[in-house]
Amino acid sequence: MSTVTHAPAVPRSNALKRFFTAREIPVAGALIALILVTYIINPRFLSPQSTKDLMLNATIMVILAVAQALVIITRNVDLSVGAILGLVAFGTGTVFDMFPTIPLVLVFVIGMIFGGLLGSINGMLVTSAKVPALVITLGTLYIFRGVLSSWAGSKQFFSGDNPKAFGNLSVDTLIGIPIITIIAVVITVAVAMFMSSVRSGRDLYAIGSEPDAARLFGIPVGGRVLSAFIACGALTGLAGVLYASRYNSVGALTGSGIELDVVAAVVVGGVAIFGGSGTVAGAAIGAVLLSTITGALTATRVDKFWQQAIVGVLILAAIIIDRVVSLRRARKLRVNEAKDV
């Protein structure tokens, strides 16, 4: 497990060097290569409609990956995100059913609060019971899904049930980019800035690297982890609202099984599974990469059965790269120390 703390506050002279050694570069490179190769084989892959579809497909995954990265960086994990997404998406349908004229902004606020509440249940269980998040959120994954199933039953909300303006969020574009994709990008940038330049954001890395040391250092570990879970829940809630806008129907099964895809995207994006290193930007690129593969395979008419195997190989490649990078960094640190002496 890589415990090397990602150091956000490097002197400016190193900025360029840091850019080229950043963990996001190989992932972004892979993404660009994938898009180029696919484009050469099938130029229609980048037709306006396909490009728009690629962005729309990635949008929800990007938000989920950014949310999950916050939690994973603190050496936790939230497996219940699929169920949270489903609950909020179905809740969104219910809200529109009850108040058809509700302002859209309010729907987003309600969705995020709802998601945040669910996230806080995870957070409180993890921090107060001091039990690993993997187990707790595996449990709440079942519980939330069960609650959703009994709440939704066979009721489904269709796109026709929602106001047109809401559905249009995932159709309308601004300079060629769908509105919900812009929302996702804004969120990624905001969270990335928070993580790199705000004290409490940097605390999350410290907690993930060495929880005991962080505690000794005076960081309120419990509070920070709880906030990470709440933020993860709230962002997942946002993804749930967007999901309801994007897809035709939301019901009891919405979002099931998505949790492993999200964790996979985060890992591919260079966030260490045991916390302490990686960036939300990397996680977002990882999400784009994974969702683009699906489109690229169909566009190049590669047998779709290969898709999942390729995702598996990518995940393994990502963690092997991480391992190599951290080994090299550790060796460099040792060499530097030796020089200083």
Partner: protein, 350 residues
Amino acid sequence: MKLFSTSSRGGRIGSIAAIATVVALAATGCAATNGGDSGDGGGDSAGTIAFLPKQLNNPYTDVVLGGGEEGAAAIGYDSEVLGPLEASASAQIPFIEQATQQGTKVIVIAANDPDAVGPALQTAREAGAKIVAFDSDTNPDYRDIFISQVVAKDVALIQLEIISEQIGGSGEIAILSATATATNQNEWIKFMEEELESNPDYADIKLVAKVYGDDDADKSFQETQGLLSSYPDLAGIISPTTVGIAAAAKYLSTSDYKGKVALTGLGLPNEMREFVKDGTVQEFALWDPAQLGYVAAFAGKALVDGTITGAEGDTFDAGDMGEITVGANGVAIVGPPTRFNADNIDEYDF
């Protein structure tokens, strides 16, 4: 070292408890015979029909089951709905076993996989249950009768007819199916392929791809996108599954392809109404799903009463649906498919 010695002591206590449990389970077995019988004389009902749909919480399934419950009530049976939350073959098995254990007289099942449910159904039969397959058939060895919505070939042909009308008799088409193993889907697709090859009217229509959305809204949605981006000349899509056609319609209605690429298949009027009205879909087909459940209940009663055995030529009374005759391979057909379009869609509510 102390640690390990205590842990093996823990093990010993555990093993004593384990033995106790096995004893308790064995005792359960000993109490068997009387326990098993006591539940059988359940009140004034003629028996129970257990309905096992592919999955619960599916709008199409609800309509089918509604008809089933109505049919069961008409013949004086209790009805019970059992089933998994997700459509998978192995998930149906515990419910077949549960129905067996409860001494259910008739099990009405829509199989997620024709073979995987076989051994469990065999056990149920040995325990005295009659097996009626409906909607999606099991391997014929494992059931007494299959209630088919419509003649499989008719369903396949009507969809080809609609798509051919809409694309003007020539062009590339694709099929968006449910799971790759679904019996009914594969049968229809096979008929479509055969017809495309043999019927000169369709000589200019080319089937270029078959994709599977697994009856999952997101997946069907993305498969539709994939089809359109990899087959630029695609003129039409057939989706013989209610989930698939709704997802495909949603995608088309929000994309540049709306009105340019034809879409038809089997859909529920309530789910498709929006898309028929906004012009994404001109016409699609389906049967009345409620009739399927209704007839299945009557078939179950006829099997229990011994009126029929599921052999070819047997006839049974199906209440409001009149007399129904069992065809070859123990398949009974309910009725012809209906076409839905802007003119008639508001007359239906399911």
